[in-house]
Amino acid sequence: MVKRKALGIMAAGIMAAVLLVGCGGSSQSTSGGTEAGTVSEDGSYKETLRIAVTQQSPSLDLHKNSTLIARQMCDGTVWEKLVTLNGNAEAVPELCESYELSEDGKTLTFVLRKGVKFHDGSEMTAEDVVASMNRWIESFSSAKDMVGDARFAKVDDSTVQITTDKSLLLLPAMIAGAAQPASITTAACCENEDDNGFMKEYIGTGPYKFVEWKQDQYIKLERFDDYVPYGTEGAEDDGWASYKTAPTRYLQFDIVPDQATETAGMEAGQYDCAFNISSDDYPRLEANPELNVYRSQMGSVALVFNHKQGIASNQYFRTAVNAAIDCDEIMTACFGDGYELGSCYMDAGQAFWNTDAGSELYNQKDPEKAKEILKEGGYNGETFTILAATLNGMDNMAVALQSELQAVGINVELTIVDWATLIDYRNDPSLFDMYITSFAEVPVPSLKLYFGKDYPGWSDDEKLAQLFGEMTAATEMDDAKAKWEELQAYSWDYLPIICPGHYLGIFAWDKDLEGVNMYSGGPKFWNAAVRE
């Protein structure tokens, strides 16, 4: 009897202790000890905006790092560029007053804005811009391919210029929106690198300055009080071109690796916004009256053929695979309903480049036609190896693809690995016939790496290279667009890749969060604030 009572007391004690610990302290602040819940000077907004993200980047040095999450956190917020993208995906001035392309398209000149301050208090100079732009070119292979050996040079204290022997028509858009943004930093920062070659300090010109990075916990940005906005006060955002006011004192990006935890954190009110919500949780969050849920195209999927060796190096085989595929089915296997079909390699955000050229060969889902092509081509049961990673459900797509291709008589084998292994294996042409990957949005088609013969997949076709060269050599945008349409139509015939569709990113935020910029690539917070 005494023992039973003791057990009861012990159990009650443990429960009480747990509840006591739970009741102690506020229900807001956890990691980092920031004072979420306190108000800004005008008493109406939270001082800290907390954003849950599932990934973290190796570095915030965007010259050398192409991870999406680093761009989402810092591009336009900490870092700014000479030009940025407007709502039509055109390059418009950001840190420059104006820019000009010479008539022959081979000289690009930027006139810099005066009085722009870096986060260390120094003023932006032509030397800083030249050092930053040249470091970006050295670090970003697509830029290097475009400009060759040419580099930026100072013309005078407020002018920088680059001259090449090729057209630079697409360079401004590349500077404005490439996956490795051409961020402007100080010349000293460009030199000050760590053992891995990344910048040691993050000193930009944006409305927020970098404050702290606690590995696996959070990244914290603070409003830069000396920031001078550009543009027209009160004007609505035009793409990323925006009059930035930084109404929130701190932006804190909390690293939350598990999507289920992110969702629970939004429901509990711990976070004001969450990135990369699972499509399984989408209906639940959408039904929550306290939250806004937003879906937007984030990029496209690519089924990349091995053109160097193996069965997929045969044109007839690639054509048969393309004829057999039901894009709806394989996209559903991977993304649930979080995708949109579309034959254009460019995403919806790049309206100027959108085209339906070649769409008659997209999503044919015609097994009989595929069987016929295989028969005519002399297919003899050779193994077709699909390489896929266990990342974001790509392995599920591989399984769906296997099922569709087996139905037309193709002998399919799957190699499922983690992402780090895939990016290693894809360099060895003996290990795969097709691999599955995805590409984030890019501002110009010349940044689609799979057109290059050195990119794993090794598309090596004379006509493809010629059309690509003509597009990048154009000196007028309309000419470039016409060449892109030709290239896109030819691509659905030659098949460097199959693009089965475009995936959507899902973002959720508190109904009281205002001023989020959703132009492209996920939310941007330079004008965002949460009402108390």
Binding site: V18, T67, D254, D258, A264, I423, D424
Partner: protein
């Protein structure tokens, strides 16, 4: 006793040498390239090759191994590819959350398991015994992430008593610190509690059926003295073993719980480091866990000798 301890300490050295070789080979033979993982999908082959050379990954494997070992003896565990910081400081900064979480989990586990295990043994065949058996079966069967999710939905989303995720350091206040790790500690401790409970019960049953306990009862010694002083002390050898294993298990197995609750501990660091092939960090963590495992086992061996003198003679 000194000779006994010295023998145990010396036996650890060859184990650690073998462990270091196995860890190094495993990490380096797994496909994947830290330079490629670090630079991202858009990096060119030349940039990746340049970074590999900078990291010393283009050198022969055997040279890399000896460089690693020699540098380790100098206190240099290498540089993390994730952020360019020294591995030692990265590991140390992630060690405290895991140690804190593991100790809290074990405290919860011990507080639940030992009294319940003893009660079940004393009341063998009764409802209490059956309840304890069901509880321990549930504990062993229930995955920690599932229990964690349940706790999160109940105590964080519904009742809003605890944060959903995140970690508060002890320097910001003990209350806030405990609050941030209570749910993960329960999720992690539950399985250990189940194991500990089963072992305590089994061990106590064995001791309670021995002749000297019967003799004590026949002499009229009070039941609480029999249980607390005579039986529990002898059952303690098994409980110590399980407790030691539980510490290692909690340290090494915290990855899932840490990931779920966004606790920046060694487990999460390990998972992230594998994803980005951060060789030096992976090697340091596995080495740390291996050393800890070996030391705990050594300590348990020595404790056996203290608790039971027959072990020393053998």
């Amino acid at each position: 006793m000194k000779k006994f301890i010295l023998k145990r300490v010396l036996s650890v050295i060859p184990v650690l040498i073998v462990v270091s070789v196995v860890i190094f080979l495993l990490v380096h033979l797994v496909p994947g390239d830290p330079a490629a993982a670090m630079l991202g999908d858009m990096a060119s082959a030349e940039d990746i090759a340049a970074l590999r050379a900078k990291m010393g990954l283009d050198r022969p494997l055997i040279e890399q191994y000896f460089v690693w070992i020699i540098n380790m003896f100098r206190g240099d565990f290498g540089t993390s590819v994730a952020n360019g910081e020294p591995v030692l400081s990265v590991v140390v900064s992630h060690l405290m959350p895991t140690v804190s979480l593991a100790l809290y989990a074990l405290l919860i586990a011990a507080l639940i398991a030992i009294p319940l295990g003893m009660a079940a043994a004393q009341k063998k065949g009764t409802a209490i015994d059956h309840a304890v058996t069901v509880f321990s079966l549930a504990g062993v069967s229930l995955p920690s992430f599932l229990l964690g999710l349940f706790l999160m939905l109940l105590f964080s989303v519904r009742l809003r008593l605890f944060p959903v995720s995140g970690y508060t350091e002890m320097s910001e206040g003990l209350g806030q610190h405990l609050r941030s790790i209570t749910l993960p500690a329960i999720a992690l401790g539950f399985m250990n509690a189940a194991l500990m409970m089963r072992m305590t019960r089994a061990s106590m049953l064995e001791v309670l059926s021995s002749d000297y306990i019967k003799m004590a009862r026949a002499k009229g010694v009070k039941e609480k003295w029999i249980l607390g002083k005579h039986a529990f002390k002898n059952a303690l050898v098994t409980v110590i073993t399980v407790f030691g294993q539980s510490i290692v298990h909690a340290l090494a197995g915290a990855a899932v719980v840490e990931s779920l609750f966004a606790i920046p501990g060694l487990g999460q660091l390990m998972v992230n480091s594998i994803g980005r092939r951060d060789y030096y960090v992976i090697q340091a963590i596995v080495m740390l866990i291996a050393v800890f495992n070996v030391l705990i086992n050594m300590l348990i061996d020595i404790l056996y000798g203290v608790v039971d003198p027959r072990v020393r003679i053998r």
